[in-house]
Symmetry: none
């Protein structure tokens, strides 16, 4: 028994809109434990919609449609489904009444074209739309096949799903088993290296473990199928614990954790605070830190020292070192870190200087070369050389620099606590 999503709309085939409906329904099906192996997108064309229905009915028992329920001529989903199963459409007076009432609430009169939305296949139930005018249907055209239709507008579709489809699917025995996932997040290790380290876990059946590359980091998703959330967590917890042990310090958090939120927690735990000095990252590090609510508790601020004059004036970087070693050097990174820590009077000072490209590389310093400086509580200073490669975009190099700087601070904080 499995479900299949069929999204109807030429605007999807033209790339005018992003298909967020299929993501929402996918998450909901996973949560209810309903297996789901295929999704199809098809345009507003009756013959092709019928072909999609034919393929889908050959392999799935629940068909979930979105889109094509509107009042205009190119909205064909409902009549095409009825036609495919050879069933006439009937007009539902309760739909007409509902649409008339909604128009009246907005001080308008129902357009004649909206009458079309009151036609549903004979034998189908109305799937009410509390916010918009387009209702859906719940229909079993024959035993063992269930059809649900939703409008394409995401907010309407989601409300209808939660209000009516979920209780209906639960009444059919679904949701007795849930699929629950937890993500473990890692930094400073490649996807392939981590996958090799944990290779024996990648063949597990319940929970399953799957690796994903994740914006410069790596994620391991652990998914369990169980009668309820608690049982799923019982399956996941020991595996998560083992994976964390194998990964060691490369593991930084789970699910909604970010490097910035984890660093924030560690700073608060150690009652220390932070300032930053940014050259090539230009504010990206400050942005990541201050995206976390409550970051004012531990983040004092920073200096964006983009021009060398600012490095000298606001951070006390030695002008001779700038000339002799260059702004992109370990020593300048260290001076920037100690400079901002001193100037803003914080426990930690974290700095970034590098070549974000395009251009700016020299014979010895390629695009993607970044130095991170870290000054600590006792004014001890360290620096780290990173080679992010010259094939990445400027914006990605800035983000990688900022994330890696946070990761270096995280590791130092863990040593101190």
């Amino acid at each position: 028994m499995s479900a299949e999503i069929i999204c109807v709309g030429t605007e999807l085939l033209l790339g005018d809109i992003l298909n967020s409906n299929s993501q929402f329904i996918s998450q909901q099906l996973a949560y209810l434990g309903i297996p789901h192996y295929y999704q199809t997108v098809v345009g507003d064309n009756p013959e092709r919609i019928k072909q999609a229905i034919k393929t889908a009915t050959s392999r799935s028992e629940i068909l979930i449609f979105t889109g094509g329920l509107g009042p205009t001529l190119d909205d064909l989903t409902c009549e095409t489904i009825a036609d495919f199963f050879g069933v006439p459409l009937v007009e539902k007076t309760e739909i007409i009444e509902d649409i008339t009432k909604k128009f009246a609430q907005r001080g308008r009169v129902m357009s004649p074209s909206n009458r079309k939305q009151a036609l549903i296949p004979q034998g189908a139930e109305i799937l009410p739309n509390s916010t918009g005018t387009a209702p859906g249907i719940i229909w079993q055209p024959h035993p063992g096949l269930t059809i649900l239709t939703f409008p394409g507008v995401p907010k309407e579709m989601q409300q209808m799903w939660l209000d009516t489809a979920v209780p209906f699917l639960k009444s059919q025995g679904w949701g007795q088993e849930v699929i629950y996932s937890q993500s473990l997040k890692f930094w400073g290790v490649s996807e392939s290296a981590l996958a090799e380290k944990v290779s024996s876990y990648l063949n597990l059946q319940n929970p399953t473990v799957a690796p994903y590359a994740d914006k410069g980091g790596v994620r391991l998703r652990i998914s369990a199928k169980a009668p309820d959330l608690n049982k799923a967590e019982e399956l996941i917890t020991p595996v998560a614990e083992q994976l964390r042990q194998i990964a060691g310090l490369d593991y930084y958090g789970s699910d909604n954790d970010t490097l910035a939120s984890v660093v924030g927690q560690l700073l608060q735990k150690s009652a220390t605070n932070l300032s930053v000095a940014e050259s090539c990252s230009g504010g990206s590090l400050g942005k990541l830190i201050t995206e976390i609510p409550g970051s004012s508790n531990y983040f004092w601020g920073g200096i964006i020292a983009y021009d060398n004059s600012v490095k000298v004036k606001c951070l006390g970087v030695n002008n001779d070192d700038l000339i002799n070693l260059g702004a992109v050097s370990a020593k300048v990174a260290e001076q920037m870190a100690i400079g901002v820590k001193t100037s803003l009077q914080t426990t930690w000072g974290l700095s970034i200087t590098g070549i974000a490209g395009p251009g700016g590389e020299t014979e010895t310093k390629p695009v993607g070369l970044v130095y991170i400086g870290l000054a600590g509580p006792e004014n001890e200073v360290k620096s780290y050389e990173c080679l992010f490669g010259n094939q990445r975009t400027r914006s990605l190099l800035q983000q990688l620099s900022a994330s890696t700087a946070l990761d270096k601070l995280r590791r130092s904080l863990l040593e101190k606590i």
Copy 2:
């Protein structure tokens, strides 16, 4: 003749990620004038991938795959395609060399599991991946059927599409009739207000004009269908010109222009330079500015004055004003702007102070209240009060503050030039 998109990945079926790849490819197919009637999503399962191929080959002549090209065991796209057509995989030494080189550039050694990425079906051509390790293929397993594969990582896929797939498809005779679009971008006007101003243009047939809300701004997309790019541009240019005139100063740029790139051009044109002082935006403004290559020509740097002590110490903000008026006030915004301009010795000083939430609001100052300060060439100072509303996320409020600050500077620069 039509193309079909097949996205492979269990993470899509679980709703872990949004399928942005199919939107990108859809737009590109529309641009090339290649008909496209179906999209399929299928998990990392060889039997189901084969079923999707079977269905797709029965109705489409170009199959475009994304996902499942990685180095791990659940990446099965390439070998499953080969298996479906009964063709062996062969190892390509040039792929091994390319991957080894990319690892070396990042100071790493290639993992043994990456060898898998060098296997492609006998007879297929390599579709090179300039940024990542997973190459794709271009393959005609039999006359009248073309297969293209791409990795799932959007940035890699897009680059490969533009670099190799587009020239290949054009060499096959596609792109004879193009659909070409130009986007005009606006800030400081709502989508509905702009749509009303230009309402008579929204019914045009060729080019068409469609409004979109765009991260706090608005976009008008003008699309023309024509035998070639020049002819399409001839249709678009006069309409674009009229729309720009109607919108006046709310129009800021086209297509890949951003507020930051436009401000950068205006600063260079006026031979002036800029520094920033950021409180609630925490680095977001610096980040937007420095994402533009060459921004070091006009951007000196900034102070992230998150804590009030930094506002006093590094920006010379009056402590009494902080106590009596609060950090979120017009006067403090003005002092921050003049403070950073003076300290970093730039022509312009731009500042942001506000309440990004959640929490932090007072009886008179709601979440979403932001003051922008702007100090100009003659040390004249202005400030702007913005109410972005308390329903938006912290991160969106930070981004809106930074973009609006750039827009205020843009309007002032236009007055001077």
